[in-house]
């Protein structure tokens, strides 16, 4: 990770949720020039997770879901995901400083160890181990 930081591989990813994700993805591609890296289908014409690329950067997107008290990402329309190498230490510091933890550090269903928190003005962030740029 330290080496990667030197060569400038992105580790900060904007995340966008849409009511009609398949349509929004096409729109982003046609209008803003994004390209689909892949789109993981969800049930009933929803998108479970998609990664779109433009130049060296990437955004993550998917369909919003029903309100879920354990997962703010189900309904939040915008947030930021950051890959961090030592997630335990990162989580401990965020808690110590008093960040509002929306989702405690835990394994997600897609296998990332992640936590979600609000910043000092209420924006939503997630920090985790899943690295979309990892080799392979």
């Amino acid at each position: 990770m330290a080496d990667k930081a030197k060569i400038g591989v992105p580790n900060v990813f904007p995340c966008l949720r849409y009511d009609d994700a398949p349509k929004a993805i096409e729109w982003l591609n046609e209008t803003f020039g994004f390209e689909k890296q892949f789109v993981v289908p969800g049930e009933n014409n929803t998108v479970a997770h998609a990664q779109l690329r433009l130049g060296p950067g990437m955004i993550m997107t998917g369909s919003g879901g029903k309100p879920d008290s354990t997962n703010p990402w189900a309904t939040e329309r915008f947030g930021i995901y950051v890959v961090v190498p030592d997630i335990e230490a990162h989580y401990a510091r965020a808690k110590a400083v008093g960040a509002k933890i929306e989702r405690p550090l835990a394994e997600t269903e897609y296998g990332s160890r992640e936590y979600s928190a609000r910043d000092c003005e209420g924006n939503l962030w997630s920090f985790g181990t899943y690295d979309p740029y990892a080799e392979a």
Partner: protein, 289 residues
């Protein structure tokens, strides 16, 4: 501790030349996506004991705390390795294991999702190969694991230990990327029937990209994995096939016809389905080599 209380189940077999005790317990439920099953074993063979290990959609890790075992590549019988603790990457050829005397050890069968996360290596580098555990985990960590399993008081303690070891290491592991994980899940759920074209269409990526990413994170390309899944599904039902039933079994498991089934069967085991069925060992002892 009685078996019911600890959840430990034992299968024993005793004949003039061979005896074994195979001990199983369900892995911690949090390991479900990553581990198929556990098996502890203690065996004695007065004459060489050979077993055929057909391909399956998983990755076994074997930690022995006794004498070594020989691993023979089924397609290249001259290729023989001697291992004490090792991991067998995803194989689309069978291997034959052989030992004489005493064997005691612990086998973990990882799912393909679990193997990637556990090892954090390019999986195609270890496909169709057996690699010493020390080379993958480091000699110190591999030695500590084997030592702790050896020193444990009983099998229940060994299962507890393996649960803890895997939860810790998998917790620090890197997840498979969502597109490859999804493609793998579709293949597993369809027993290898989903086509690569359909998968790449659904994922909105090119065939080439999917194949390349899948190959690196799973170990073999999707077509090879589909073949293994179809075969593994078929051998689950092999007991039920009577003489007239082979063709039905073949078609029911997604083969074009019985000839297709027989060809794949020979490729994966070196035997006909009937020969294979006849070589199953009693008391859960696997397949005779």
């Amino acid at each position: 501790m009685p078996a019911e209380a600890s959840g430990v189940q034992v299968n024993t077999h005793r004949s003039d030349e061979y005896s074994w005790a195979l001990v199983t317990r369900a892995p911690d439920s949090r390991l479900a996506p990553y581990v198929i099953d556990y098996c502890g074993y203690r065996e004695r063979a007065l004459t060489p004991m050979r077993r055929l290990q057909p391909p399956f959609a998983g990755v076994p890790m074997i930690v022995t705390f006794g004498p070594s075992i020989d691993i023979i590549n089924g397609n290249l019988p001259t290729e023989r390795g001697v291992f004490r603790s090792f991991l067998a990457g995803l194989h689309d050829v069978h291997v034959v294991t052989e030992f004489e005397g005493d064997q005691i050890g612990f086998q973990v069968n990882f799912t393909l999702l679990g193997a990637f996360r556990f090892l954090n290596v390019t999986m195609s580098d270890i496909a169709n190969r057996c690699v010493g555990l020390g080379d993958l985990l480091g000699d110190a960590a591999a030695g500590r694991l084997a030592g702790a399993l050896h020193d444990a008081n009983d099998w229940a303690a060994r299962f507890d230990l393996m649960d803890r070891f895997l939860l810790d290491r998998l917790g620090r592991g890197r997840p498979m990327s969502p597109d490859v994980a999804w493609a793998l899940k579709c293949l597993e759920e369809s027993h290898g029937a989903r086509s690569i074209g359909a998968l790449s269409r659904d994922l909105a990526c090119s065939r080439r990209t999917l194949i390349q990413r899948f190959h690196a994170q799973v170990g073999l390309n999707p077509k090879a994995v589909a073949g293994i899944l179809r075969f593994a599904h078929a051998i689950k039902h092999i007991h039920a096939a009577d003489e007239e039933g082979w063709a039905d079994l073949a078609v029911g498991c997604g083969y074009y016809d019985q000839a297709h089934f027989n060809r794949d069967f020979r490729r994966y085991t070196g035997r006909t389905p009937r020969e294979f069925r006849a070589s199953l060992l009693p008391d859960g002892g696997g397949v005779g080599g």
